[in-house]
Symmetry: C2
Subunit: 385 residues, 2 copies
């Protein structure tokens, strides 16, 4: 199995891009990544996307974008794993390059979801849950997360304000990320007074949707022994694991078993432990998911993830920096693109390009992308060599 | 790159399974393939599906099915390339196994599309075309194929009845396939008098949709040196290529450039030529596609694919047997599952399990799965060793 490296990255500003089509958004990130890699062609395109059939009436997004980007006749596919689609496409590309049949791949995570009414998007996002056994009962995707958060607070005795540091950290970091959707400082008071969405999840517990795309070019690591002064970023671990789609089918809905499994496999592949991670871009779609991800990935005991926020260990100067570019909460969550934003941001950290929120001496970074309420979890560990 | 072999296959009858859910259909094919392989667990599940978000309100089909099949915590993803989704999932699985990180994979192509009204399905299928530049103008997927067929007849001087042998052969072969949707003999008269859908495409030029699933278990070839009397089926070639999504963007809409490219790469990988193929399961979604596929894959000159039918070279005793189990035309076309039905049928031929339509001494088989109107084309060559 060949070692794989990341040669180029690209991303668009996340926002409401009513003036740009799906192909323009995806193309912008793709072209930027190719330019960053100093290439104009790759062997294959892997696209991560969740909602384009539902919101944009467009399927076959691999070929749709390969045509637009000028990769006509090259291989192209789309991978979908709900909000984990971006990292799932990334992993499929890694497998293909490490198998040796193709020698370079462009991976684009893309989503355009603000041109429809809110109801349509809520219904579309609900396709990540179990249509027969969850959605049929009337529960929305936010509703599922609210149920989990409610139980967590009850079980471990936390109050709602204890989750505030997660959102405050994310918003604070996004202030310095020009690609982020939200540039707005918040505090505990704002957090507590924010509009309720589905109790106890309020607006500042939840990540905003958006239009956006992020991309990376990968090649066999042997191809880039020297890189004009930039550190070489290699993929030290890639792992994916699943759980039940329906939250009620789980033995323990407060433990992200798939996150635990994929992180564990990823640590083994990279030959490291959780303590070795310098920066962690996790899937904070809702503040409760931040706590559960930290716990399942080995950074906190069960029920104690919240404590890391309260102790201020999650800032870029803390023990385990998270959401250093704003996370899903403030950078934004264009669902199928999110996994690739995380990869791009880890590369930025390892290259030392994060300015105000740079993690000093970051050498090993981890990205974790979640599809559904913990149903599909992909973990990647990147490191400089 | 490790050599990969097919250890087990499974399929469901194609029909209107209103009594079975999406997971039951996918599970049935998956369980059958696992049983055929003598396994109860695999490292990863790859699902090919096009329409479940639109028709079944269900995304994240990889995890959805891994949970149902008893593969909880194992890796799972869904791959989508319109009607080419089945073979696209198959190729992603081949890459993953040949890369060496996983040691076994189950691939399921699944589609449940008959529980909605015809209008919904027509609109859903149109997501395979270009939403901005084709569908927006009011052209349906059948309409696009009708335009191509009209031009082909004009350009090369064929009349509609010249396409009859393709459909007659497919229907005749399906009579002996218990999994086929249609069991009905047809003749030239019936073909010509069939109801018009979009001139010149009539009902007997077009393949029927359906609910169904087909599956295969793949492992590194080295794992199965002997197989209790069954010939070992290995994957000698796997290739994918793309063209523009919109038919009008092509230099020549009568040439399937992506089919040409993917077949060419596949022949190179397998070290063979078109003449070496004993049986060819092609993508006869419409009779015009049969002609174009035969031409692009090297079995006929440009504009002469129709001649192979008129000369009766396509039966299981002919020079290039096609649609030996009924093809899309009569076995049926549950879109995201079709690519895996083709793989399963080639394995049946190579194992010598096709009874009345068995190709004598079949050793090398090819399957070609198409997404959109020739936009994404995946070709696989299987052979016995």
């Amino acid at each position: 199995m060949k070692k794989v490296a990341i040669l180029g990255i690209g991303q668009t500003v996340i926002g409401e891009h009513w003036d740009k089509s799906l192909r323009e958004i995806g193309g912008e990130a793709g072209f930027t990544a190719l330019r960053d890699a100093g290439m104009d062609k790759v062997d294959a395109l892997f696209v991560g996307n969740m909602l384009s059939p539902l919101i944009d009436s467009q399927n076959q997004l691999g070929t749709f974008l390969s045509d637009w980007i000028g990769l006509r006749h090259q291989e192209a596919i789309k991978v979908e794993a709900a909000c984990g689609s971006g990292a799932a496409a990334f992993r499929a590309a890694i497998m293909a390059v490490s198998a040796g049949q193709i020698d370079s791949a462009l991976v684009i995570g893309v989503e355009k979801m603000t041109d429809k009414s809110g109801h349509d998007v809520t219904a579309a996002l609900a396709t990540a849950a179990d249509a027969d056994y969850e959605v049929e009962q009337g529960v929305s995707f936010v509703g599922l997360n609210a149920l989990i958060m409610q139980r967590y607070m009850h079980e471990y005795g936390w109050k709602h304000a204890d989750f505030a540091p997660f959102s405050i950290n994310a918003h604070s970091n996004a202030m310095h990320n020009p690609f982020a959707r939200l540039h707005e400082k918040i505090n505990v008071d704002k957090f507590e007074k924010s509009a309720m969405v589905a109790s106890p999840v309020n607006l500042l517990d939840a990540s905003p949707i958006g239009d956006g795309a992020a991309a990376a070019v990968i090649v066999p690591a042997e191809r880039i022994t020297s890189m004009s002064g930039r550190p070489r970023v290699i993929i030290a671990g890639s792992a994916s694991a699943t759980d039940t789609i329906a939250v009620h089918s789980r033995k323990d809905p407060l433990f992200l078993a798939a996150a635990y499994e994929s992180a564990k496999r990823c640590y083994e592949l990279a030959g490291i432990r959780a303590e070795d991670i310098d920066v962690f871009e996790l899937h904070d779609a809702f503040s409760i998911m931040t706590a559960l991800s930290l716990e399942a990935s080995g950074f906190a005991q069960r029920g104690q993830g919240v404590q890391l926020g309260l102790e201020n260990q999650i800032s870029h100067k803390g023990r385990i920096p998270i959401c250093t570019r704003g996370g899903l909460k403030a950078r934004g969550h264009p669902v199928g693109a999110t996994g690739m934003y995380q990869i791009v941001e880890i590369v930025q950290q390892l290259r030392g390009e994060c300015n105000e929120t740079q993690v000093d001496g970051a050498k090993i970074g981890m990205a974790q992308n979640i599809g559904g309420s913990g149903a599909t979890v992909l973990t990647h560990i990147l490191k400089t060599e």
